[in-house]
Amino acid sequence: MKSFTYQRVTTPVEAAAAIAAKPGAKFLAGGTNLLDLMKLQIETPTHLIDIGRIGLDKIEPTANGGVRIGALVTNTDLAADPLIRKDYGILSRALVAGASGQLRNKATTAGNLLQRTRCPYFYDTNQPCNKRVPGSGCAAIAGFSRQLAVIGSSDACIATYPGDMAVAMTALDATVETINPAGKTRQVPISQLYRLPGKTPHLETTLEKNELITSVVLPAPAGGTHIYHKVRDRASYAFALVSVAAILFKDGTGRIAVGGIAPKPWRVPGAESLLPSGAKPFSAKLMEGARPTKESEFKVNLVERTIALVLKEGKS
């Protein structure tokens, strides 16, 4: 770890102002991702702004029947919230399918959204990685790529967005709210939060430099049956090979987002009209343009099978 200075702030406005004042600064929320990356010198902030006490730790109903989740609400609290469990079951299920109890106690909503990839070569600072060192190359494409992206990736990077919570939020049509150092707030639909890598895999989101996430807003409950199915290498405490977040309605329609296969939670709204015809046609459309490696090829098939499983489960 490199030396850094540390500062605690007490309001969102103060946080946004503080980060603008220090080039090289980063927000520290639960620290479960950032500190790991700092220990390996993959992230090397010179200054940390601890936002743990700026409030934003509430889950509140919104005027139009939805819910606003503060950026600092922990994963544990969010998963256990009665309102979330009742009306947004998919989110609660996705959360408890992620990480471990200890990590979820520390992990925050905003930190979880912004967690970085688990590509093994991103973690090995001795290897070329366009995401870590732009222009250095990508060690993963011809390497160990079994758990990496099969769609949405590029010749520069095949890393996945590894998280679970955002997959559910994508199916729920969530919106991310932010504030910038000038005090300006804005709303970003979650489908537009993550960028595809293209030639610039180091740019992962559409957030501006120094923009603070203040909350995530969920629209009024969609109803339906909520299923989150995560396929992974052990029964718990492992990142997804494939995860499916589904909201299914009685008439056979629904919304589906898939995790573990792309640089962002993968949802193709245009494909969802095919859901009533079954997993095969829907998956074919969803996975159009897939470009797996030999090692990750199985995932394309696994997506279809997991969706088939989820549709079956939705019917029973």
Binding site: R118, F144, R232, R234, S236, A238, L302, L309
Partner: protein
């Protein structure tokens, strides 16, 4: 010794462990401590052409940066390894020599190229990141499958009995290939050492070792010191699983560095370094040819294994040995080869080679049973042997048939359909599997000291380290069984070279070895007490020792219990503050006439998701035929731990190398998947609990290894029973299953 079942005694150190009272090596704080961090090579083969340590030397708090250019000498490196220094000795015929920080040559990924010492761990870690090396790189050979043709034949050679061509005419034939990946022990506790030179030639060491005597010996040799001047302490260990069975070069280097720095040094390695510098279970490719007649009688087995080892050291293990004696089969041959790769040297990992071999043999037995349309247990019983066909001698004890029966009953084997792929539960396929495990039961030399105090309390002493199985608890039970002193008056002291010598904790041999020494020592004390009781003028003068018994701190006439004397009274009247005895204990020549093995049978029930390929073990039953069970509670914990390790081996554990670079890609606990709670169902443990009449006075055989050996095959066999598909490459991950099951 009482000859009935032992009561369930709580782990004597349990409370200490859960309240933080147990001190592990890194917990020892010494004033003026410094901290050492290793910089590992970033290449797997080549030469360090330049190493820049200036920045690191100038970093805050740094006290020394050691590389091959300035490493203080280790005078005894090339002394021949002594008997006590456990671990495979460097073979003179290997192509290379590995001597830490002595040459710019890189023999494996992660090889230490610098060791940095600073006044805090954080500063040492940061300074380590400033060490910059440039290399002249060579292509690394790390892929065993690619280099099989370079195999060598290690000592011991091949084995054969009967007719080598019997297979060719066998009516039913099976030929299968199996692989197991590199597995890493990954105990929770990180490896390392705390070194304190308390005088010019006086050393205090807190180690993470499975044998304090072994570490003492290794350091004495390396630094040409009298072992008496080296004090090694390891009372507790946060898991060893075999990786602590030798003194690793970086530990020796830390001793040299501590001398140079002139302050105590603590080395605690990084998790990623646990993959490269403290051994692993080697990648092993195996093949089995099995022939049988139509009635299920085995005609022949050929078992071949090829394992990786390092360029600089040949590591061998007993991978194919089980095949030689497990079943009644006239024609058996085995073949064992090594390939020297640009890799660090492996070491034993729980259930060492046998666990690897059992995966192949016991999978093959299941495959053959299926070909014969026989129940897998019936097939094993059909080929059961009451005598050891390898050595042509009886087993000291074998109750395997009973183990099959009791395990089958407990798992509900009769629910199993012999036809695979037909049982469904909910949306899952369901299946049952079983397998056999076996491991040598040893009787090694050990010594113990026992002190009976005037207040009636007892102290039992041995240098043995408790790596977790509950050694202290077992020794308490053994002492209690001889002297019948209440459990809470018995104290066991262990894990320190100031105590009587003991072998390293390994090979499931400690209850047998150290337990026998404690038994013998306590018996000596008992005899002395009986003498005091019966001598002229004593309370029971004139009685014969043979007529006496002990219970609850009293000695009495067995047929007239009211005639008794308290042990405390006896010592008092004889003016004895205590009675102390020491005894060395070893096996007898009689034992040469027997084959001594512990046996296990594992049963599992699995469910397999036919769509996603996910496998869940939903029930596990493990039966141990390991003689008399000394400490039922800790023995059950041992079995549960073994099964948990077995589930990891079967389903999740694999250290993956990117062979382009010869480096691991999952060298952390997030990506190297040990089994977690959700992977582990309720485990039922069953003990046959019949004393072995030959091995030692307690009748106890070992059980640490058999808890794991064979388990992975039981899972693979159950997956086959559930799906009709055979996975021969561990671990059985969802992608492998999914691609086979449609």
């Amino acid at each position: 010794m009482k000859n009935e079942k032992n009561p369930p005694l709580d782990r004597i150190d349990g409370r200490m462990k859960v309240t933080g009272g147990a001190k592990y090596f890194a917990d020892f704080a010494i004033p003026n401590m410094t901290y050492c961090v290793i910089v590992g090579s970033e290449i797997a083969r080549g030469t360090v052409t330049n190493i820049d340590i200036k920045k690191a030397q100038g970093a805050p708090g740094v006290l020394g940066v050691f590389t091959h250019q300035n490493m203080p000498p280790i005078p005894g490196w090339d002394a021949p390894p002594s008997k006590q220094a456990d671990g495979p000795p460097p073979k003179p015929d290997t192509e290379e020599k590995y001597r830490i920080l002595s040459s710019p040559k890189i023999l494996f990924d992660g090889q230490p190229i610098a060791m940095v010492v600073a006044d805090t761990y954080e500063r040492a870690t940061y300074a380590a990141s400033l060490v910059k090396a440039t290399y002249s790189k060579q292509a690394a050979r790390t892929d065993l499958d690619k280099h099989k043709k370079d195999e060598i034949t290690p000592k011991g050679g091949d084995y054969a009995r009967g007719n080598a061509k019997a297979f060719e005419s066998a009516p039913v034939q099976l030929e299968s290939e199996y692989t197991i990946p590199i597995e890493v022990h990954n105990p929770m506790e990180l490896h390392g050492i705390v070194v304190h030179w308390t005088g010019a030639d006086q050393l205090m060491i807190y180690a993470k070792t499975q044998g304090v005597n072994s570490t003492q010996q290794a350091m004495a040799q390396a630094f040409k010191l009298d072992p008496k001047n080296i004090h090694v302490h390891t009372e507790f260990m946060g898991g060893g699983f075999g990786m602590g069975l030798r003194t690793w070069p970086q530990e020796t280097a830390t001793v040299a560095i501590a001398k140079k720095v002139g302050r105590p040094v603590k080395l605690v390695m990084h998790r990623s370094q646990m993959f490269t510098t403290v051994g692993h279970r080697p990648y092993t490719a195996q093949s089995i040819q099995m022939g049988a007649d139509k009635n299920g009688k085995l005609i022949s087995i050929h078992h071949a294994a090829t394992a990786e080892t390092a360029k600089y050291e040949d590591f061998t293990e007993a991978t194919v040995n089980m095949t030689k004696f497990m079943y009644d089969c006239p024609n058996v041959s085995t073949r064992y080869r090594l390939v020297r790769l640009d890799r660090s040297v492996p070491i034993w990992m729980r259930g060492p080679g046998e666990a690897t071999g059992a995966f192949a043999l016991e999978s093959a037995m299941d495959e053959m049973a299926h070909k014969l349309n026989m129940d897998p247990i019936e097939f094993r019983i059909k080929n059961y042997t009451e005598t050891d066909p390898e050595h042509n001698r009886p087993y000291s004890s074998k109750h395997l048939k009973e183990a099959y029966e009791r395990g089958a009953e407990a798992i509900g084997w009769k629910e199993r359909k012999n036809e695979p792929g037909v049982s469904k539960e909910d949306n899952w396929l369901a299946g049952y599997g079983m397998s056999t495990g076996v491991f040598n039961a040893f009787r090694w030399e050990a010594s113990a000291r026992v002190v009976l105090n005037a207040d009636g309390s007892l102290v039992v002493q041995s240098a043995v380290t408790d790596i977790g199985p509950g050694t202290g608890t077992a020794l308490t039970m053994i002492a209690h069984n001889v002297l019948d002193i209440p459990f809470d008056r018995i104290k066991v002291e262990y894990g320190d070279t100031s105590l009587p010598k003991a072998p390293s904790q390994g090979g499931s041999a400690i209850v047998s070895a150290v337990g026998s020494a404690v038994f013998d020592t306590c018996t000596k004390i008992k005899n002395e007490l009986f003498e005091l009781t019966t001598k002229a003028g004593a309370p029971l003068a004139g009685s014969k020792a043979a007529d006496l018994s002990m219970e609850n701190g009293n000695i009495f006439l067995s047929n007239s219990p009211s005639k008794k004397v308290a042990v405390t009274e006896l010592l008092k009247t004889n003016n004895l503050p205590s009675i102390a005895q020491t005894a060395d204990s070893k096996g007898s020549a009689e034992q040469e006439k027997y084959s001594m093995y512990s046996f296990s049978v594992h049963f599992v029930k699995v469910k397999v998701n036919a769509l996603t390929g996910a496998v869940r073990v939903t029930k596990a039953v493990s039966v141990a035929d390991s003689g008399r069970i000394i400490s039922p509670k800790t023995a059950a914990s041992q079995m549960i731990g073994g099964v948990t390790g077995g589930i990891g081996m079967a389903l999740t554990e694999e250290a993956i190398i990117d062979h382009r670079f010869g480096r691991f890609v999952n060298n952390n606990l997030a990506d190297y998947h040990v089994a977690v709670h959700a992977d582990v169902p309720a485990i039922e443990t069953i003990f046959i609990d019949k004393p072995d009449p030959i091995i030692n006075p307690m009748g106890a055989k070992g059980m640490g290894e058999i808890a794991l050996i064979g388990f992975s095959a039981a899972v693979a066999n159950a997956v086959f029973n559930a799906t009709g598909k055979r996975i021969r490459q561990l671990p059985i991950t969802p992608d492998k299953v999914m691609q086979q099951v449609s």
